[in-house]
């Protein structure tokens, strides 16, 4: 086979490989390249975060507006302290907003859903959301059910 | 420049537990046709490999052009091999490239000649072996004899001062054999190429060799011109030269007494 043909074919092969990689990256894993999205940090404390992990999503009305960047244990109150980055152009979140840990679909992962409150004062960099709702833990649910506390 | 092109000095070489050479010394004079002969498995091909630097002797030295082969660096060995041509028993052409590219291979590796010159040289070499018309064919399309002739063209591509032939006559029909004999003789007479032939084909080899060395059991058991060897006193050499089935190399594989073994069958 001619060298030139081989070069072309091998080049196509390598290109196909790169395209496959791109497909897997974008189409399959939903990898998004966010060019320098400006964000501001907000904190919330929960009794139980369930299966929430770093990089979990933060959403308002189902629309993703941020990501969880850090999870740690507050050793004084023994509550979970969750740090989130919210997109800077979503800057009218009132101070009495509720942060709840919800589940995606039936088997999905956990995410933080924000329900906007009524106050006119908005959250700024470093503020804390005080009204929080922990994740629903299956065992507690079953316990309540068994004890007829429903 | 000394008179001997190659000198083997007291070389021993073993493969595994088998002693292939046990203190062998011989000398290959410049411009002569020297044959190294002996029974199968006596290590004749190994000798060529030692000369070419593919193998290193356990003890002793191999000198080529007054250079100790085992002490050469990679670059020096590369330069040395430019002057050595080797014809392998099976031809050993590269099966994935054409006849032309096979012969051009050493030229492209060792020289910076432009493609037009290489083309001319390749055609000249192929013409010398009578296969210029086959330059576009692939080795798989050639017969055994043609394969070997192309391999010969490839090994003389760089006009080496020394040629080594590994069993050049084995497995060829009489015509092809005649062609090879003539080519070897011509190369030697016209270009003065020192030729080392390794073979167990007595008749053909004796017809062109100036000197014959006979190696058996790891030792040199005979040396001299074909006539001298034919009249040699050693019974081992005589058996080899005359092709006698029984002699110092026994006909029978070691076994028990024949009568006893046969009669055993009656008792079973």
């Amino acid at each position: 086979m001619q060298m030139r043909t081989i070069e072309i074919v091998v080049g196509t092969f390598l290109l196909a490989g790169l395209i496959s990689l791109a497909i897997l990256a974008i189409r399959v894993s939903g990898f998004t390249v966010n060019p320098d999205q400006q964000t501001y940090t907000v904190v919330a404390k929960f009794d139980n975060i369930g299966g929430l992990v770093v990089r979990s999503k933060v959403s308002i009305a189902g629309v993703i507006v941020g990501t969880v960047t850090d999870i740690s244990l507050d050793q004084e109150t023994f509550m979970a302290e969750v740090v989130m980055n919210i997109d800077s152009d979503v800057n009218e979140i009132s101070r009495d907003t509720t942060a709840a840990i919800l589940t995606e679909g039936l088997l999905g992962g956990k995410f933080i859903g924000l329900s906007i409150g009524a106050e006119e004062d908005y959250l700024k960099e470093g503020d804390e959301i005080y009204d929080t709702q922990s994740a629903i833990i299956l065992e507690e649910l079953i316990g309540k059910f068994l004890l007829g506390q429903f | 420049m000394s008179d001997s092109h190659v000198r083997i000095e007291n070389v021993t070489f073993s493969r595994g537990s088998r002693r292939i050479f046990d203190g062998v010394s011989l000398e290959i004079p410049r411009g002569k046709i020297v044959a190294i002969m002996g029974p199968s498995g006596s290590g004749k091909t190994t000798m060529l490999r030692l000369i070419g630097g593919q193998l290193k002797p356990a003890t002793g030295k191999v000198w080529v052009e007054d250079k100790c082969v085992s002490r050469l660096t990679r670059t020096q060995l590369f330069a040395l091999r430019r002057n050595m041509g080797m014809l392998f028993q099976s031809g050993a052409l590269f099966t994935d490239i054409s006849v032309f590219d096979n012969v051009a291979f050493p030229l492209r590796i060792h020289t910076d000649l432009p493609e037009e010159m290489i083309r001319d040289l390749v055609l000249i070499k192929l013409q010398a072996v009578g296969l210029r018309g086959a330059s576009a064919l692939f080795p798989a399309e050639l017969s055994g004899g043609m394969n070997r002739r192309v391999a010969l063209a490839r090994s003389i591509a760089l006009d080496p001062s020394m040629m080594m032939y590994d069993e050049p006559f084995t497995g060829l029909d009489p015509i092809a054999m005649g062609v090879v004999v003539q080519l070897i003789r011509t190369l030697n007479k016209v270009f003065g190429t020192t030729s080392i032939i390794v073979s167990h084909d007595l008749q053909e080899t004796a017809s062109i060799a100036d000197v014959i060395y006979v190696i058996a059991d790891g030792k040199l058991i005979g040396a001299g011109s074909p006539e001298e060897l034919f009249n040699a006193e050693s019974p081992r050499v005589q058996q080899f030269i005359k092709g006698l089935p029984d002699g110092p190399v026994p006909f029978h594989y070691p076994a028990r007494d024949f009568e006893t073994e046969l009669l055993e069958g009656d008792d079973l």
Binding site: V10, G17, L24 | R81
Partner: protein, 258 residues
């Protein structure tokens, strides 16, 4: 008793010497002497090992993706969770089945071809004559093949995954009626590039290295007879397949559990 120990000792020693020879081959061919002027050789080998394997990879990938979708659907539908089909199939393919199965197929197709080719070159003294002409066969024959395998294998594994997911989508969405939106969105939400896809790629690179190494060594070390070459080819397929499967376990352990 002593003789049995001695036999065991000899056997272990021979394994050590094989590993040593294989390691030396690797060292000489890959590290000590890479040369840019051999680029055309490398390209030809990528063609032989990579491009010519695409068909078998694509066919297998598609079939396996389709089967996974079929079986996956049957199980998930019992829990009403069939919308997670895309996610499940994608994860399985990208993390495990993709690299492993394409590794096995590569070993069978490309690995055996390389072993047979090199073994034959050894048997017909082509390697020897190349050396006598002054060319290093390690550089000209062995090294390009090792690099070609190293490059081709991850590409083939990626293609396998892509075709597999496509096959799964055809079966799941177009045939079995899983909602297209759910199929893809669950997959996109659940499959993470770094945790899943990248680790799969790492696996395929390792597999490519190992398979090509075994193939090249077996060919180089083969007995120069027709039986010798046949035995070497069989050994290549067996050893590299087992190596892929065993390495997969350890790689998974290290990458996903720590």
């Amino acid at each position: 008793m002593i003789s049995r120990l001695r036999k065991l000792g000899q056997y272990l020693l021979s394994i050590m010497s094989v590993l040593g020879r294989a390691g030396e081959l690797w060292w000489q061919a890959v590290w000590r002497r890479p040369r840019l002027s051999n680029a055309p050789l490398l390209m030809r080998q990528i063609y032989q090992l990579g491009v010519l394997s695409v068909v078998i990879i694509a066919l297998s990938g598609f079939s396996i993706g389709a089967v996974l979708a079929l079986q996956g659907y049957n199980q998930l539908v019992k829990y009403g969770a069939e919308s997670a089909l895309g996610l499940g199939v994608a994860l399985v393919l990208v993390m495990e089945i993709g690299p492993v199965v394409s590794g096995l197929l590569f070993a069978g197709r490309a690995g055996s071809a390389v072993t047979a080719e090199i073994g034959l070159m050894k048997a017909t003294e082509q390697l020897s004559s190349m050396e006598m002409i002054g060319v290093d066969p390690l550089q000209r024959i062995i090294a390009p093949r090792i690099w070609a395998g190293f490059i081709s294998m991850p590409i083939l594994s990626l293609m396998f995954c892509v075709v597999g997911i496509w096959g799964a989508s055809l079966v799941g969405v177009n045939w079995l009626g899983v909602y297209e939106g759910a199929f893809w969105s669950a997959m996109q939400e659940g499959v993470d590039f770094e945790t899943h896809v990248l680790k799969g790629i790492v696996k395929s690179v390792v597999f490519g290295l190992v398979v090509t190494w075994v193939a090249v060594f077996q060919g180089y070390d083969a007995e120069p007879t027709s039986e010798g070459i046949a035995a070497a080819t069989t050994r290549t397929v067996v050893y590299s397949s087992v190596a892929v499967l065993v390495l997969d376990f350890f790689l998974t352990l290290v990458m996903f559990n720590f």
